[in-house]
């Protein structure tokens, strides 16, 4: 029997992978009615438009104080939702992690709730919560809170099982009580990871908060939306510059903290 040698086999399977991918891409382009030619011609058009219209001018700089005020709202909302959701998630994760759970069913329940919370997109949460809280900061706050909570329960359960299994066993052997084990072993060993994840969620939430702001009429997303819709592109570009600077600054600070703590 003739068998293909290793390299031919590998090349064939790679070729098949590429063909399937290209086929799927073609079908998707037809299905979503994406206009490939228009896509390509739009890029130079967008660049030409951006270089002639999309930069801050003197008049837009006068709007800087009000833009910065909106930025503060957005950053505050991101930090508050990430911090409180993570604190709640830490409690749930302690009761849900294999190492420290009090009850198997609670663990299953906690994981299930977290799966639902994180898999509904933040924009969908915002649209759902608009029914309860209208166009206020609460809508955005809870949308970010739910998604952060769902994500943090998952990663903190993994962190607790990874980091503190050995020390929990050691303390249990000495006869320490449940709360002593949590306070002396689980919390201290997980704290650096927890802080690192909170910082990650703050970064994510600032980006999401811009989107949520457009949907709920709050914060920096709302500023952008107003200037954009009133065709004041100079002010809109200033909003983008402010967002970029704050995102990069927060990333730099959290990277610095992460390096020092982990």
């Amino acid at each position: 029997m003739h068998t293909l040698d290793f390299f031919t086999k590998k090349r064939l399977s790679f070729g098949l992978f590429v063909v399937v991918l290209l086929g799927l891409t073609y079908v998707t382009i037809i299905f979503t009615e994406y206009n490939v030619a228009k896509g390509f011609t739009s890029i130079p058009k967008a660049i030409r438009w951006a270089t002639t219209n999309f930069y801050p001018d003197a008049a837009s700089l006068k709007k800087l104080p009000s833009i910065l005020l909106k930025l503060r709202d957005t950053v505050m909302m991101s930090v508050a939702s990430a911090t409180i959701a993570s604190a709640c998630a830490f409690f749930v994760a302690i009761f849900g992690a294999q190492t420290t759970r009090i009850n198997v069913w609670f663990s299953v329940f906690a994981r299930g709730i977290a799966t639902i919370f994180r898999n509904i997109d933040v924009s969908a949460w915002a649209l759902i919560l608009l029914f309860s809280f209208g166009q206020s900061s609460f809508t955005g706050y809870f949308a970010l809170f739910f998604v952060t909570f769902g994500f943090m329960v998952r990663v903190l359960i993994e962190t607790i099982d990874e980091v503190s299994t050995d020390s929990v066993e050691a303390l249990r052997a000495t006869g320490a009580s449940y709360f002593a084990i949590i306070a002396q072993s689980v919390v201290p060993s997980c704290l650096p990871q927890l802080v690192s994840w909170v910082l990650f969620m703050i970064e994510t939430n600032i980006r999401s908060a811009t989107l949520v702001g457009i949907l709920t009429g709050t914060g920096i997303g709302y500023s952008f939306d107003i200037y954009y819709k009133s065709l004041n592109y100079h002010a809109a570009s200033l909003v983008i510059i402010v967002i970029v600077i704050s995102v990069l600054a927060i990333e730099a600070v959290s990277n610095w903290i992460r390096r020092a703590v982990l």
């Binding site: 991918l21 799927l24 891409t25 998707t28 382009i29 299905f31 979503t32 994406y34 896509g39 739009s42 058009k45 967008a46 030409r48 438009w49 951006a50 505050m76 909302m77 930090v79 508050a80 911090t83 799966t115 639902i116 898999n119 509904i120 997109d121 933040v122 924009s123 969908a124 649209l127 759902i128 608009l130 029914f131 309860s132 809280f133 166009q135 206020s136 900061s137 609460f138 706050y141 704290l191 650096p192 802080v195 909170v198 910082l199 980006r207 999401s208 811009t210 989107l211 457009i214 709050t218 997303g221 952008f224 592109y233 983008i240 967002i243 970029v244 995102v247 990069l248 903290i257 020092a260």
Partner: protein, 269 residues
């Protein structure tokens, strides 16, 4: 002598100081944050009160009213398609540029330029990229695909370049010593040994792009199920219909996540 020796259980070092300062600052900022909330005279407790009945309307009594089930599934697949398309386009661009952004494959000045540019691209939220492209391309699938591709490429260039940088330097040096040129090094060593890492980053980005595609339907007129959700929430004010869309989106997202978890577990074996 015995009395004077104390064991310092938790020494104060830079790491603990920074950790505690960070936690304290987060708590203080959070406390301050609630004073900055724009309440627009919305009654918070009335909202919380309504949350329960709204959730039960959403999750327990979902039904469709303004569109049929077939249209909903079709729109869900349009959203999935937008996510898939932008992931493929982003990955194709990223594969080329990441080779020029990896420190072990490209000159230092070039890696610095590309990494700086991608950091900028990533710092602008996806929805703003889509709206920027919408000015010249009009609101719709073209602007959505371009904007999302842009952000995906920025994200994947960083992820791919880091995967390339992680591969064993010895392999590259051995190939260099045997006289292999840059292309041979890339195709025979770099790409094969980082293939699984590239695949899992790409899959992760597909998960992100699926949820972004929902958001772009809601906030940037990209169509799909996100637009249906936007209409149910802002125009028809129909929570039951919103519930049906939520279940549709949730079902696909959970399947994706389960697939990713399985794939990761199979890599670990």
């Amino acid at each position: 002598m015995q009395a004077n020796t104390t064991i310092i259980v938790r020494p104060w070092n830079a790491a603990t100081v920074i950790l505690r300062t960070t936690i304290m600052s987060l708590i203080i900022i959070t406390g301050y944050a609630f004073t900055t909330f724009n309440t627009r005279d919305v009654d918070f407790w009335a909202g919380v009160d309504m949350l329960g009945s709204n959730f039960s309307a959403l999750l327990l009594t979902p039904y469709l009213k303004n569109i049929t089930f077939d249209v909903m599934i079709r729109n869900l697949f349009i959203t999935i398609g937008l996510g898939f398309l932008t992931t493929i386009f982003g990955a194709a661009i990223a594969l080329g540029l990441a080779l020029l952004a990896a420190q072990n494959l490209a000159p230092r000045w070039l890696t610095v330029i590309i990494k700086g540019l991608t950091a900028f691209v990533r710092a602008v939220p996806t929805v703003l990229w889509v709206l920027i492209f919408a000015v010249s391309a009009g609101l719709g699938s073209v602007a959505a695909v371009l904007g999302m591709t842009f952000h995906s490429a920025g994200y994947l260039i960083k992820a791919y370049a880091e995967s390339f940088e992680e591969i064993d330097n010895g392999t590259i040096e051995a190939l260099k010593a045997s006289g292999a040129n840059w292309w041979q090094i890339v195709f025979q060593a770099v790409l094969p040994s980082s293939a699984t890492a590239l695949l899992s980053w790409t899959f992760l980005r597909f998960e992100i792009n699926f949820s972004t595609a929902i958001a772009m339907g809601a906030a940037a007129g990209a169509g799909g199920i996100g637009y249906d959700m936007f209409m149910a929430s802002g125009f028809y004010l129909n929570l039951h219909e919103m519930g049906a869309f939520t279940y549709a989106v949730l079902a696909f997202a959970v399947v994706l996540e389960a697939g990713a978890t399985r794939y990761k577990a199979s890599l670990r074996k």
